[in-house]
Amino acid sequence: MATVPAEYALGLAAVLFALGLTGVLVRRNMVYVLMSIEVMLNAAGMAFIAAGYRWAEPDGQVMFVFILSLAAAEVSVALAVIFRFFHRTGTLDVDKASSLKG
Amino acid sequence: MILVWAVVIPLLGGLAAWLSGRLGSAFPRWVSLSALALDLVLLLTLLDGGPAGSRWLAEIRIEWIPVIGAGIHLAADGLSLALALLTAFLGMAAVAASWSGIRERTGFFHLCLMSVIAGVMGAFLSLDLLLFYVFWELMLVPMFFMVAVWGREGRYRAALRFFIFTQAGSLLMLASILGLYFVHGTETGRYSFDYADLLGTPMGLATEFWLMLGFLAAFAVKLPAIPFHTWLPEAHSEAPTGGSVVLAGLLLKTGAYGMIRFLFPLFPDAAATIAPVVHVLAVVGIIYGAVLALGQTDLKRLIAYTSISHMGFVLLGIFAWEGLALNGALVLMVCHGASTGALFIIAGAVEERTHTLDIGRMGGFWSSAPKMGGAALFFALASLGLPGLGNFIGEFLVLLGSFRVNAAAAVFAALGLIASAVYSLWIIQKVFHGPAPPEAGIADIGGREAATLASMAAVLLWLGLFPGPFFERTGIGTAASMPTGSEIEREAVTGVAGRIGREKSGRPPGLARHGAGEGPEEMRGRQQGK
């Protein structure tokens, strides 16, 4: 089977990360921001997979599982916070969550 | 051991006052008053003289933090004893002044007051630089609370300015203390904060200069010296009366004391270099304070500016570093504490009765309160330097001593005498003279106020007419030039200061000392050439 250069996978991870970051910075709906964060997390995971593939080590896969569980926990907490926020203010606009300003 | 008690009794008294405040708001006053009276009596026992052969009237050294070379080293010579006695005395006056003015949280107030007294006392008595710094800081925070909690309308801002100004100076002093500590340690291999060890530390002029500036910063802000004085008018006018008495009477003197005890002996050459500049600042302060005093409409603020003017004289006397000028500065410190403290007490009494300090709304109080008017007149005359009262002796000796060192500065400083007449009589005119007010007028001073004011008047009369015993016990060295640290040690002896000046030369002063045709210009040239 033809080996895929690890650089391509890293490149894909980078593109995915950038897309995710853009989504965090640009989108105003909290749920979409959350989804973008998930994309970023997965991109990071992909980078790890690519590295594991490059060095033929299982550590890359291990890190991905790690990140997955982390992401799951974080998403549940984040969704709970979003629920409370929506309950309080009736909107999902991230820009409205700014009462901690100086 | 007495010295330790001198510092600890106010602290314990403060705690006791705070606790007794739970029982009733009258108790803290009595507790404080008795503690300070006890303190005063204890300190008076030191007047008898100290162990022979020692320059200190009392000294004690206790181990504290030997690892870094810091010990509890307390000592009193004539200078510190005079100021320590003033501390106890004015502390009692402050308690008396706050008798009826402070109504809420009296226990806490007296805790703050006594802590400040303890801090001041410790600052006057400690010879270990770290300990001195601890007491220096101890004076600050309770004073901040006194102004911020029990003061008048602008109290918070005034307290904050006071705190930031003095803290800035103190931090620079801390930097200098640590600098001196390390320089001494690297030069001699012995790391110590002790005053006796640090005297005569070998260091280059540049290092000495920068270290001296740190100390000067702290003391110049406290004194206050122009242009670092702007915290004072607000702090004095917004503080409660007892706070003003302690501020004007004691805290300002700690700056002056620090200059005499630490700044000059530790950094003699650097101090000599900067002295002419400080002379100019002192003279500017004398005149600036006096002129601005006239323009104030708030009575306490007016008195605060007069403080700046008087402390200008003290600063001139200290930086002339001449025997007579130093003694004059000391007398002036004590008398200024008494006279300005008394004026603040009278201002506080007026405020209690009329609920205003705006002199535009006062006038004609002499008819209804002649005793208060008479007292105010007496202290106003002291303030303007009437001969027969202590302030004149102080100012005259400062001018006489500094005339030999910097004649021009002395002549310009003398102009402050004219300006002081202008503002002192202005106070009397606006507050007590003039047409009688249409309402019933104000109540005259009662027994307690009268007793406080009478004791201060007695001090002024005593120092004005018979300062002999005072100089005998507290005279500082009469070295007529700017000697090095070791010379200071030799010459700065209590008690025999005046006689040393004569014994050293072996001839009576006056005619025999100077050659024919020699005038002050020639004398000054010879002095500065060392």
């Binding site: 100086g102 | 702007t230 001018l399 005339f403 003039g434």
Partner: protein
């Protein structure tokens, strides 16, 4: 006898303290008794000292009684000591006797005033301070008395404190004399720094032996002169005296006529050694004396207020004394001081009798024709005016003024003598102007009160002294302390002497012409254009007040008001504002916007990564 010298100032001081403590609780009669009695006892003590002094003169010509060591520190020593020599004895005698007579007079004058005992307390304090001044043997102790009399002058000018104007006049007097006093203090410091002591004998000896060069002596003499100018109300520090008339009349009589204003004369006489070492300073003294004499004489001529006219008169007569001092006629100056004390006190007291009798009327234009209704006041005032004008032979003023003019011609030259002659002429002119305006002519205000015995006796006593004191032989008495002038009388001095004797008569005659009867010439002069301007100019004391107001008072007040907010605070306030602005800027980063925070984090991470990779 020298053991009891301390009693002389101590008695009035004790009286003052007693009155200050008990004044409100004792009846008025007792206050007056204590007030006048202590001064009377002091006068007796002076008399006893004088008798003792003259019968058994001490070896060196003076007694010294040391009281206590005031300051003894290092190279400087100042002691409190009293000295009795011919000069201080003369001064003390004049002060105590005049003061006693004035206090007896005040017992009636101040009747009914609610500050009765306060008045006597202040007056006694003044007498005590004045006695310390003239008896002090040490310059610092003298300065204690010097400032003491200044203080009492302030207290007594502003005695009726409810009137704000009185307070203003009192402060003006004090501050103006303080300016002179400050120069005096600098002079004292110069002397102390040079000699290590302020003992008068030691200082004078030291100056004589060491300061031959003259520069330091001139500086010291100039500074002493400045102090003397302030206290004696001479140009340029003279403007406080006319305003000082706001005080009660006995105060004007005692302080601002007889005693305090002569303090300057005394100090120059006492330190004459210094002045003799600096001839140009003496010339200055004479010039200022002559200038003040002329300024005040012409100002007195146009005053409407009786007391103000007398104040300008005092200024002028003290100018005569300064003139004498400046030409080296020390004895003549002190002689004139004595006669002046008597006749000026007399003039003020009888003026006071007139004012009180008319119910408080000061304006001479509203008086007139009182000759028959107030005979005692008339005759005593006339005696005083005659002595002031120095009418020949019968008045004491003649002898002292003649001595001065003689000395001025011999020691100072024709210019100064001429100024003196003109001054004498105008003095006689305004003196008799007052007599004619008040006592002759048409009746003005009505008499409301008669003069009582307590007021009358001092008036009579002072009249006698004003006429007879010329025969007291004071100048020769002072020989031991104040050397006679060495100047030789110039050619033609006999004619000059005759002229100076006739000038007062001429002045009186001119006054008769101008003021007795219709006063037409005077009114036409005052009414004309330039005449009115001149009238205003002279009446305001030659515009000095106007000048000082603009030169000193307004700028000072402006500076005080401008500095109310304290410009030195500007940098600190600026620092506060800078901190606030910086805060304002930085706080914008804390927008609370999550997305901005995220963007910041991303940017930072990028930069850090870049730095790690490339640097």
């Amino acid at each position: 006898m020298k053991e009891f010298l301390w009693l002389i100032p101590a008695l009035p001081l004790a009286g003052s303290i007693l009155l200050a403590a008990l004044g409100r609780s004792i009846p008025a009669r007792v206050s007056a008794a204590i007030g006048g009695g202590t001064v009377g006892l002091s006068a007796l003590a002076v008399l006893a000292a004088g008798v003792d002094f003259m019968s058994a003169p001490p070896p060196e010509g003076f007694h010294v009684q040391g009281l206590w060591t005031w300051v003894d520190l290092g190279w400087f020593r100042a002691g409190a000591a009293l000295r009795l020599d011919a000069l201080s004895l003369t001064m003390a005698a004049v002060v105590t006797f005049t003061a006693f007579l004035i206090l007896v007079y005040s017992a009636e004058f101040m009747e009914g005033d609610e500050g009765y005992s306060r008045f006597f307390a202040y007056m006694d304090l003044f007498v005590a301070a004045m006695l310390v001044l003239v008896l002090a043997d040490d310059l610092l102790f003298l300065y204690l008395g010097w400032e003491g009399v200044g203080l009492c002058s302030y207290l007594l000018i502003g005695f009726w404190y409810r009137e704000a104007n009185n307070g203003y006049a009192a402060r003006k007097a004090f501050i103006m004399t303080r300016a002179g006093d400050t120069a005096f203090v600098i002079g004292i410091i110069l002397l102390a720094a040079s000699f290590g002591t302020l003992d008068i004998t030691a200082v004078m000896e030291g100056a004589a032996s060491e300061w031959q060069g003259g520069r330091l002596a001139a500086a010291a003499a100039l500074l002493v002169l400045a102090g003397a100018l302030g206290k004696s109300a001479q140009a340029p520090l003279q403007t406080w005296l006319p305003d000082a008339m706001a005080g009660p009349t006995p105060v004007s009589a005692l302080i601002h006529a007889a005693t305090m204003v002569a303090a300057g004369v005394y100090i120059i006489a006492r330190t004459h050694v210094l002045f003799a070492l600096a001839p140009w300073v003496m010339d200055l003294v004479a010039a200022l004396g002559a200038a003040t004499l002329l300024i005040s004489a012409f100002s007195a001529l146009v005053q409407h207020d009786l007391k103000r006219s007398l104040a300008y008169s005092t200024m002028g007569q003290v100018g005569f004394m300064f003139l004498a001092l400046g030409v080296g006629s020390w004895q003549a100056a002190i002689f004139h001081f004595m006669t002046h004390a008597f006749f000026k006190a007399l003039l003020f007291l009888s003026a006071g009798a007139v004012i009180i009798s008319l119910g408080g009327e000061h304006d001479m234009r509203r008086m007139g024709g009182l000759r028959s209704r107030l005979p005692l006041a008339f005759w005593t005032f006339l005696a005083g005016a005659a002595s002031l004008s120095a009418l020949p032979l019968v008045t004491a003023g003649y002898y002292s003024k003649d001595l001065i003019l003689e000395g001025a011609l011999a020691g100072g030259g024709t210019l100064l003598w001429g100024a003196g002659i003109i001054g004498a002429f105008v003095t006689a002119l305004y003196a008799f102007r007052m007599v004619f305006l008040v006592f002759f002519g048409e009746a003005g205000a009505d008499v409301k009160r008669r003069t009582g015995l307590k007021a009358a006796l001092p008036l009579v006593a002072l009249s006698a002294l004003s006429l007879l004191a010329g025969f007291f032989g004071v100048p020769s008495f002072l020989e031991a302390v104040l050397p006679a002038s060495q100047a030789a009388p110039p050619v033609g001095h006999r004619w000059a002497g005759i002229l100076s004797s006739l000038v007062p008569l001429l002045g009186a005659a001119a006054a008769c012409l101008l003021y007795l009867g219709k006063r037409g010439i005077v009114e036409r002069l005052a009414g004309s254009g330039p005449g009115a301007v001149l009238h205003r100019f002279l009446g305001s004391g030659w515009g000095f007040d106007w000048l000082y107001e603009r030169l000193f008072v307004r700028p000072y007040q402006l500076a005080a008001r401008a500095g109310r907010a304290d410009i030195i605070d500007a940098p600190y306030a600026g620092a506060v504002r800078l901190a606030e602005r910086l805060n304002g800027l930085l706080v914008k980063t804390q927008s609370g916007q999550v997305r901005r925070y995220a963007a910041g984090m991303a940017l930072g991470a990028l930069l850090a990564l870049g730095a790690m990779v490339f640097i």
